[in-house]
């Protein structure tokens, strides 16, 4: 809901809840293994990351140790999904601004990633690939080949986007110095992900929380201090490059070994509760899990980045400076997906 005066935006009120499917309640009635298939659907654009948070929670509560090969495979798959998610963001953001073509270019590149993931996990969008204690299956040699080819061809596409979009003066005039989120506001509202890093704060759950084997890989956390729409755009473009770096290093370092520990058919997790988080494409994706010793969790809560990032729309100081066209660009730069907001 937007209150306008001519072209000037006065007030914005997000009206959410239309995509609520009750996933958290459903998970209370499903075993931990069945729950993984549901938490895919929390963020279906980058579902590997959603699964990772859930599976991390189960592993930490049950004290399971994940084999090293599985950790590297997880990193590769999650970073591929991050690139795919950013490509969708690129398309949708540019379409809101009027340039329809990047959407189709993004889809063209994303098709390659999705086919790779289909080779690995069997599904194009909702993978159900992670398991507590590893991943479901290993990569085939063809999958490794295709990932290596992708790493070779994708940087040229990134350069194409840079020439056509980032260096385009119309795009820059629509996005620079507009929708500025200051550092203090970003911290106050609890933002995370590229929105936070676009405001100058160098915080990434992959580095700060150090889960999985990210500490063995070298990568930068891109951040820009202006806090406008253009910085958030730059952060995401650089993140795609950094993801390519991570995948390259992970491919080199992948060791031989098993990909899944031996699991009982019905897994019982000891009593306990905890909040565990990972860095999804949109920001901090956390799962609070409370287990009561049975085969099904007592309570699962998903702390999704889009839901928290959406609060920034209620901040009148930022909103009052925007015109209607700027609001559209601002919404696009937040990169929220409704399934994450509503669960």
């Amino acid at each position: 809901m937007v209150k306008l005066e001519g072209e000037q935006v006065l007030e914005v009120k997000p009206d959410i809840g239309f995509l609520h499917r009750g996933i958290e309640k459903i998970c209370e009635n499903r075993t931990f293994l069945q729950g993984i298939a549901f938490c895919d659907r929390v963020d279906y654009v980058a579902s590997m990351n959603s699964e990772w948070s859930f599976v991390l929670a189960v592993e930490k509560l049950a004290n399971l140790e994940v084999p090293r090969r599985a950790e590297f495979l997880r990193i590769i798959v999650a970073e591929l999904n991050r690139i795919a998610s950013h490509l969708i963001w690129l398309g949708a953001f540019n379409m809101d601004l009027g340039a329809v073509t990047p959407f189709l270019y993004g889809m063209r590149e994303r098709e390659e990633i999705i086919e790779i993931l289909e080779m690995i996990a069997g599904n194009r969008l909702l993978y159900n690939y992670f398991r507590p204690g590893g991943v479901k299956n290993d990569f085939s040699p063809e999958a490794f080949e295709r990932i290596k080819n992708f790493l070779k061809t994708f940087p040229q596409n990134l350069k194409e986007y840079k020439d056509l979009i980032t260096n385009n003066i119309i795009f820059q005039k629509r996005t620079k110095q507009i929708g500025i989120i200051t550092k203090e506001k970003a911290i106050k509202y609890g933002l995370s992900g590229p929105v936070l890093r676009g405001s100058g704060i160098q915080y990434d759950v992959r580095k700060n929380e150090n889960y999985s084997l990210y500490k063995e890989l070298e990568f930068e956390i891109p951040h820009f201090k202006e806090g406008d729409i253009f910085s958030r755009h730059l952060v995401r473009m650089r993140e795609m490059e950094e993801s390519l770096n991570i995948i390259r290093q992970a491919l080199d370092k992948t060791e031989e070994g098993s990909v899944l520990i031996k699991q009982p058919f019905i897994m019982k997790v000891p009593v306990g509760e905890g909040y565990f988080r990972t860095e999804s494409a949109r920001g901090e994706m956390g799962v609070y899990m409370n287990s009561d010793g049975t085969a099904k969790p007592y309570r699962v809560k998903f702390r999704t980045a889009s839901f928290v990032n959406l609060q920034i729309l209620e901040d009148n100081e930022i909103i009052k400076k925007l015109k209607l066209s700027d609001l559209i660009a601002f919404l696009g730069s937040l990169d929220f997906v409704m399934p994450e907001v509503d669960r």
């Binding site: 072209e7 009027g98 340039a99 329809v100 073509t101 189709l104 119309i170 795009f171 015109k323 066209s325």
Partner: protein, 315 residues
């Protein structure tokens, strides 16, 4: 030309206008597809050439709605006026040496005057629809249209200074030695930009921005009335391209082939560029567009006119 010839030529032009609408939509969709790594319309007819015809037939079949509370007269007249303006603009375009419906002495200024009426038809459409989004789109569109008439006029005046006449055939014959695009590059760019704005094409298509305003001033139109707007838009693109060809690219002149072929080749080249612009650039915001016009284009075009006049006077 005597009266019967003239009559048939004018009739042919009207038919041409309709057929061009069909062709232009197909051309745009194919070009858009190719730019976006996809084939474009393929299935309806060989290689998709009947796609627009199918769309047109669908539009004719649609229900003739009038929104509640709409001002019936304005709502009904707006598409007719838009179509009429475009049809009238065809009469001074020089397709070939003697193929002009009316070689008026005021030539180019006739078109500028007629396209000024476009702004009224937009407001009629937006206001008559009784829809706040349509009205907002119409306001934006009208502001855009009347602002950019000024640089367009000055660009045209620079060319008229060079030829000392506004008559279309004289403008064409004055370019026998050298095309005006080389003598007046600034005017060419200003006229191209203003032409893009007048026809509401990206990067200036804010009035039709789908993500913001549904469809701007023609949101509430469906069926035949909507097809009038679309047809008028594509024919306006043809007119702008034809004007650029006549004023800057030498019009119907070239070697070997008769003039009319060269005219169409040049015009289609410009239309191609206009289509490519749409699928390459994002949109410009309305206030950025207006400040670009008044703070940059108008001073530049005035300076261009003065420089042209001075050079003409001293040589």
């Amino acid at each position: 030309m005597n009266f019967t010839n003239l009559f048939f030529f004018a009739l042919a032009l009207s038919v041409f206008m309709l057929l061009f609408g069909l062709f232009a939509v197909y051309m745009e969709r194919k070009i858009a597809g190719r730019i976006q790594s996809r084939p474009g319309p393929l299935h309806v007819g060989p290689n998709g050439i009947f796609q627009t015809l199918a769309d047109g037939i669908k539009l004719i079949y649609k229900e003739n709605l009038i929104p509640k509370g709409a001002d019936k007269l304005l709502y009904f007249l707006a598409p007719i006026l838009v179509f009429l303006i475009t049809l009238l603009s065809f009469i001074i375009i020089p397709f070939d040496e003697n193929l002009i419906v009316a070689d008026l002495n005021i030539g180019i200024f006739f078109i500028l005057a007629i396209t000024g009426l476009n702004a009224i038809s937009l407001i009629m459409a937006g206001f008559g629809s009784n829809n706040k989004y349509a009205f907002l789109g119409a306001m934006r569109s009208a502001a855009q249209a009347i602002s950019y008439e000024v640089p367009m006029l000055f660009a045209v005046l620079s060319v008229v200074v060079l030829t000392e006449s506004a008559k279309m055939s004289l403008i064409v014959s004055a370019q026998q030695n050298i095309w005006f695009i080389f003598l007046q590059p600034v005017s060419f760019l200003i006229f191209l930009i203003s032409g893009l704005v007048e026809t509401n094409r990206t990067p200036f298509d804010l009035p039709e921005a789908e993500s913001e305003l549904v469809a701007g001033y023609h949101s509430e139109y469906s069926g035949i009335k909507f097809s009038f707007f679309m047809l008028a838009e594509y024919c306006n693109i043809f007119i702008v391209s034809a004007l650029i060809t006549t004023l800057f690219l030498g019009g119907p002149s070239g070697w070997f082939l008769p003039g009319i072929f060269w005219f169409f080749i040049k015009t289609l080249l410009m239309i191609f560029f206009i289509f490519v612009f749409r699928w390459t650039f994002p949109r410009v915001r309305i206030d950025q567009m207006l400040s670009f016009c008044w703070k940059f284009l108008v001073p530049v075009s005035i300076v261009n006119l003065i420089v042209t006049a001075l050079i003409k006077y001293f040589t």
